[in-house]
């Protein structure tokens, strides 16, 4: 599979959340993910994009297809990468923010822990005053 250009989606308002998850679904579909994975991926994108709007006001989502080359013992695989980044207030206690039900707003507090469950890989880096970056991957089965 040839590498595709990254898709950048600016996130500034609630309608951008819809755009981000629809673009994510479209890319995943193009990559051949199954129906259940399409829903899983777009649900996680929706949560992480909403966090930008709710907690950081603005930022961006970057979508990308990646290849993991195979080795002698394992076949190669392709995956969809979602990067969400913002220059918002950041998160002081990441472990706390990752707990189910924890919210500093009026949310349900499932966005971060739930997206980690939905995706295969999940990484978050954040620093108060600097911003937050979430990187998530889903491998095609």
């Amino acid at each position: 599979m040839t590498a595709k250009a990254e898709i950048h989606i600016p996130i500034n308002s609630d309608s951008d959340i819809v755009t981000a998850r629809q673009q994510g679904r479209a890319l995943a579909q193009e990559m051949g993910f199954n129906g259940s994975d399409l829903t899983v991926i777009s649900t996680a994108i929706s949560e992480i994009a909403r966090n930008i709007v709710e907690h950081a006001k603005s930022g961006e989502i970057i979508l990308n297809a990646v290849n993991s080359p195979g080795t002698v013992n394992s076949p190669g695989k392709i995956g969809l990468v979602v990067i969400a980044r913002d220059k918002g207030p950041g998160i002081a206690d990441i472990a706390l923010a990752m707990q189910d039900g924890y919210s500093t707003g009026k949310g349900l507090g499932v966005g971060l822990p739930g997206s980690r469950r939905l995706m295969d890989e999940f990484e978050i880096t954040s620093a108060p005053g600097i911003g937050t970056t979430v990187t998530m991957k889903k491998w095609k089965r």
Partner: protein, 126 residues
């Protein structure tokens, strides 16, 4: 786009037609709250068949719709949650809580008939 709300007898049926932004979901909540009062409706059905995802905001808003409707004497049933959507909701860690669900519109209406004929309290029977 505003979600059309159909009045059918004592019930209101809101059929979501396309993906909804947060703002449009809140508009649906407010429209239903107003119409439940205006028509003295006994039941509300929200048909989510076309939604390809339900995230935490959608769930929070549907719960709010059911709570507001209940305070105004009306029962709410969510119909049409797709299997993949249900799967992702569970993984995410979302539950609809008090909100009742049915497979489709027909079952939703039957459920409302049952609830409203019994005086509206589902806690009194089990």
């Amino acid at each position: 786009m505003r979600v059309p709300i159909l009045k059918q007898g004592n019930y209101l049926i809101a059929s979501i037609q396309s993906a909804l932004s947060d703002y449009e979901l809140l508009q649906l909540r407010d429209d239903l709250a107003a119409q439940v009062g205006r028509f003295r409706s006994k039941g509300v059905i929200v048909d989510v068949t076309v939604l390809d995802i339900m995230d935490s905001f959608a769930v929070r808003t549907l719960r709010a719709i059911a709570q507001i409707a209940r305070m105004r004497g009306s029962e709410t049933v969510i119909v049409g949650i797709q299997p993949e959507v249900a799967f992702a909701m569970v993984q995410l860690g979302l539950a609809l809580g008090e909100v009742e669900t049915a497979l489709d519109l027909e079952e939703g209406l039957a459920l409302l008939e049952l609830r409203t004929k019994q005086g509206g309290s589902r806690d009194s029977q089990s």
